[in-house]
Symmetry: C2
Subunit: 234 residues, 2 copies
DNA sequence: ACAAAAGTGTTATCAGTACACCCATGT
DNA sequence: ACATGGGTGTACTGATAACACTTTTGT
């Protein structure tokens, strides 16, 4: 069905959400929550959480609001990903989607409500999604894997304090390869991304590891993104 | 003036254009063309080329079209930059702008029409622009400077063939620092980004340099962006 | 004592950098 | 011949990677 040239273009906001969950073997892997479409077009298909952009709401706020109302989650990291606007990406109307990507803490993801219209799936084994959402998740995954190597975002999957083994587990899950514990430790400490809390995590049948916290970079050199936010709007 | 919640949100496409031009001392520096606003709001201010998104036109095509119709230029590289949508970025209505950035060849920039409503300015010494366009250009500059270090975009400023000195001049202009000619040569050749044409550039009072051309990477490993285009729509 | 993970030390390799030096051309 | 930029050689340095080894806990 060709679009009338004067038909309005609709503006939507969607978010690709990532969280770490153990897979069947206990290893942490990336999962993403999807919502079932309850109306046409593409009714019944799984899709990214999102919605139309209200005239008086900021893009990032709309992203945080829609993902919370559909999945119950509050992201610890939220960043604009890309704007998808192909003329034919939705069958009925011209829809331009400003897509964000978000990271949520693992324990929040664990207690997340997964009702009949919310489903968590491994991020790299998606079912066929509505519209062009498969491609969007793949791009978000690519961005996450890229960005985790140079930016301080891995701690967004973790709580306030964490051990270096936990942090390394995040990197390994995202990058899908094992990292040398010794070298990882030195790199993290040298990077100044983390700081010791002075406490240790006891209880395991081995030497208790030190606990670290994310170290807000004081006045480091040039940020990686001029207008990056530390905390998402919510 | 507060916006009515049901007022429509308008969708615009704009482009930050970069080209290299010699400054007063003959060194190449980045310039960008601006267009004068001929209607309210912000009439008389200089702004990025752009326009409203037609319902049946692709985003990237709209970017290429509006920049050609206002500046007469055809970009050699065109990529989405970011979507700016703050509620108050335009005084009268909610305007969401999908912004692209473009690189144009130097000789095309040289013969570009610079009428009374088109003005070229050095990219890092902008006058006060309309809306949030200063911030947008700064972000585009940051992206360009970042991306030139890992992606094969520098040749977009040059013609079909070029010497390594010309290519180095591009890098030096973008990065604003001198590069060692010997090391630059080795890095470029080792990267596989360029290939010898077999020809040389004679006529100068010194050893004639070899001419190179951009080497389309055959089946290199993982691209830097899953859905990057090699050629812009136009 | 032992298993297991935390944490340290040491070395090899590689990319980036600095800079000395030779090469080939037009004047 | 000589000035000028093209082009090659080489040595230094810092980051990464590989892996042997020591430390500290619960059982």
């Amino acid at each position: 069905m060709p679009l009338a040239p004067d038909a309005p273009t609709r503006l939507a906001v969607s978010t690709v959400i990532f969280a770490l969950r153990p897979d069947h073997s206990g290893r942490a892997v990336l999962w993403t929550p999807l919502v079932r479409r309850t109306r046409e077009p593409q009714r019944g298909f799984w899709a990214l959480p999102g919605g139309w952009l209200p005239t008086n709401e900021e893009l990032e706020v709309a992203a945080a609001r829609t993902l919370r109302s559909t999945t119950g989650l509050t992201p610890k990291y939220l960043e604009q990903l890309y704007t998808f606007g192909e003329v034919d990406r939705s069958p009925d109307a011209r829809v331009v989607s400003v897509v964000y990507w978000a990271l949520v803490q693992s324990d929040e993801a664990a207690r997340a409500t997964a009702g009949p219209n919310v489903r968590w799936v491994p991020a790299d084994r998606l079912p066929p999604l509505a519209f062009d959402h498969n491609r969007i998740v793949e791009y978000a995954l690519w961005r996450l894997r890229n960005k985790v190597e140079y930016a301080q975002i891995a701690h967004a999957f973790l709580g306030e304090t964490f051990t270096l083994a936990e942090l390394r587990e995040v990197y390994e899950a995202v990058l899908q390869r094992d990292l040398d514990p010794a070298n990882f430790r030195r790199q993290m400490i040298a990077s100044g991304r983390v700081r010791e809390t002075g406490e240790r995590l006891a209880g395991a049948p081995h030497r208790p590891p030190k606990l670290y916290r994310y170290d807000t970079p004081a006045v480091t050199t040039e940020s990686h993104e001029p207008f990056m936010r530390e905390e998402p709007a919510s």
